[in-house]
Symmetry: C2
Subunit: 254 residues, 2 copies
């Protein structure tokens, strides 16, 4: 049997309106979908309906290995990510397995990464253009890296006046980390700094809030929230109807 194919597909932030045609095409011809259960649900019905292999969110390497096993048997496999699979998502885990398989001479499988719109871009679009100037994307999860490196990066980013996009700000297993991150940011950045909380952006239960670094409630986030913290130049204003916008101007003062 000839080897199959494995695509790591980014659905974008949720709604089909933000899913690329390449992602849709790969999903429509897949024989097998592999992914975290809620992301498989986001795919919606397909015709013909592929086999769906749902797994827990924490079993990324097992999931990647399972996808390779299916593809090596001739399947057309899609590993499903939300957002962009290359940003804190499944592409890195699949590449880790691909390197291991290559080292041990496993049969070749054709691998493709299909990019998507990442959560920070979607949340930013809802309020304007907070990422309009240099920015950093940092995962606050210390499950796979020491908390010290998270702090070091937060301090570096805030000191050099980057906008910050914080992924995975909190979970039940990580209750204090976001509060500690906010403490660090407050030491360097003004209380009036605009902060955007985007939760499930692009999904039916979307919530997007604009607050400030000073007023931000450290318990108001969960693992489905992306947090954008402005730089010293990030601005906010409201239109006459009350709609609030946030953007970071293209000009940086000398």
């Amino acid at each position: 049997m000839s080897a199959g194919r494995l695509a790591v597909v980014g659905l974008g932030p949720g709604v089909p309106a933000w899913r690329s045609p390449e992602a849709t095409a790969r999903l429509s011809r897949a024989t097998d979908l592999v992914g975290y259960g809620p992301y498989l649900d986001l795919v919606g019905p397909l015709d013909p309906e592929p086999r769906r292999h749902a797994s827990d969110n924490r079993e990324e390497l097992d999931r990647a290995e399972h996808a390779f096993t299916l593809a090596a048997d001739g399947a057309d496999v899609v590993v499903v990510s939300s957002g962009d699979p290359g940003v804190f998502a499944m592409a890195a885990a699949v590449l880790e397995r691909l390197e291991t398989r290559t080292a041990r001479g496993a049969p070749a499988v054709e691998v493709t990464i299909v990019p998507g719109i990442t959560a920070a871009s979607a949340a930013a679009a809802r309020v304007g253009a907070p990422l309009g100037h240099d920015f950093c994307c940092i995962s606050l999860s210390d499950v796979r890296k020491p908390w010290e490196i998270v702090e070091r990066r937060l301090i570096a980013a805030v000191t050099a006046d980057f906008v910050l996009a914080l992924y995975n700000p909190a979970s039940r297993a990580r209750p204090w980390q976001f509060g500690r991150a906010i403490e660090l940011l407050r030491e360097e950045r003004a209380a009036a700094t605009p902060v955007v909380l985007g939760r499930d952006v692009g999904r039916p239960d979307e919530s997007v809030r604009v607050t400030t670094l000073g007023e931000l409630d450290p318990t108001a986030v969960d693992m489905r929230t992306v947090v954008i913290v402005g730089s010293s130049t990030t601005r906010t204003f409201a239109e006459a109807d009350g709609r609030r916008w946030v953007y970071t101007p293209r000009d940086y003062p000398a």
Copy 2:
């Protein structure tokens, strides 16, 4: 006449296969497209064909004002960006004009930002997952910010071991900046660090090269190139057929 609408639409990195359905829908009903000429060309033919208002790449505020004038007269205007309009593109310029218009009580126009896949995500996908861990996006253009702030951010990012995605690395008017940036990065990061050069990714003349920080030719980039510089943990390997991959593992050593 009732006020019209203004959408800032990200085409994604080029090919229609990476353009979101929302972007396609907004383009298909637009009466007027406003944008940098080559981006208007990327849109391709539309039916009915909207009016196309091409402008020079540097006239972003004029272009935004023109778009508002058309929309205030009742047009359905799309301001066209490549990639994600929120990342070093037109959304910030449109928000700047919106704030000015709001302050002077100009008639309201319904503004929407339609996100897209940004160039760094597309280039990353072609080689694997170099953005699989914390990363910074920095524009190397010093047209609208002092070069000192660029250097400060490069040093902060490299010292805290971020992956870097460098936008606008060079142009005819900025011949030495990329070379200087590479000098700074070489002081802190190993010569073997993987570097990805993605030029016109997603377009017919796409070029993606993997090199190293030590071997990188500082003259090998232009304004259509996005440069991804790995962190200390970024890895590269080749499959048996020679295909080279780059990824940054999810784990960071303690």
